[in-house]
Subunit: 122 residues, 2 copies
DNA sequence: ATGGATGGTGATAAAATTATCACTAAGTGA
DNA sequence: TCACTTAGTGATAATTTTATCACCATCCAT
């Protein structure tokens, strides 16, 4: 993690939410965990494009922010699970709502971006 | 804007949504516009901490992504308004849900971050 | 003792986002 | 002409986020 220079605005719900969950992978991670994929190794396989190292950091942040809790099982081979806390679970309706909105907007975005690319708008 | 190197996964709703709305200010901007604050100048005043230049870029992206539409009134002094499109409006329930979640989580996050800061966890 | 499986870290590079500053343009009224 | 308002842009710096690579530790089986 890094040393944030610009402080969070705790009075703005959107600012708080963005801090905790506003990153490339966190929603995906919470989503997969809610589906029962809880081990780092399995999460790496389940989430398209993420690497072990990045996943590790995201899990750590989610844990520090109180959305996940980590359990270590002294089994062979070593097993670690990340489970949703109460706060984490309270986010699930949002995660699925955002996912659904994104799915609905997907084809439209694709069209828009392709059109703009050919028109050199960006 | 910049040239994205890692492509969007159009099959993942969360990925699509993050692309369009996953940034520091966009939810705030949509929120303010939904409350009736539509002119760049007024948005700068309404949104704590944003600068004119940054707002301008965010508005442009939201417009390109089809969430806002821009109207230029030939008045004196010059008046420009950004209004929500149908897609933009379809996001409002999410914006307010996220805002509410963030408000509910705010004090908890503050406690967590302050505790961890003193414990050098970060 | 060696190697595989799992979970994890440190250092650093690359990419992406946001901030800053100085500027342009149109219109209007003093 | 000059100042003022509003909207907007270009160049660049600073910050933040993600990615890459090489590495460590444990436990176990061969």
């Amino acid at each position: 993690m890094y040393q944030r220079k610009i402080p969070i605005d705790y009075d703005c719900g959107l600012s708080v939410a963005m801090e905790v969950v506003g990153s490339k992978w966190k929603f995906c991670i919470l989503d997969e965990i809610s589906k029962g994929i809880k081990r780092p190794k399995d999460l790496v396989n389940a989430i398209n494009g993420i690497t072990k190292r990045v996943l590790q950091k995201q899990l750590r942040e989610l844990e520090l922010h109180g959305l996940l809790e980590k359990t270590i099982y002294t089994e062979i081979p070593l097993r670690v699970e990340y489970n949703l806390t109460v706060s984490g679970k309270s986010l699930l309706p949002l995660v699925s709502a955002i996912d659904q909105w994104g799915m609905g907007f997907s084809s439209r975005l694709k069209t828009i971006l392709e059109t703009e690319a050919t028109m050199n708008y960006l």
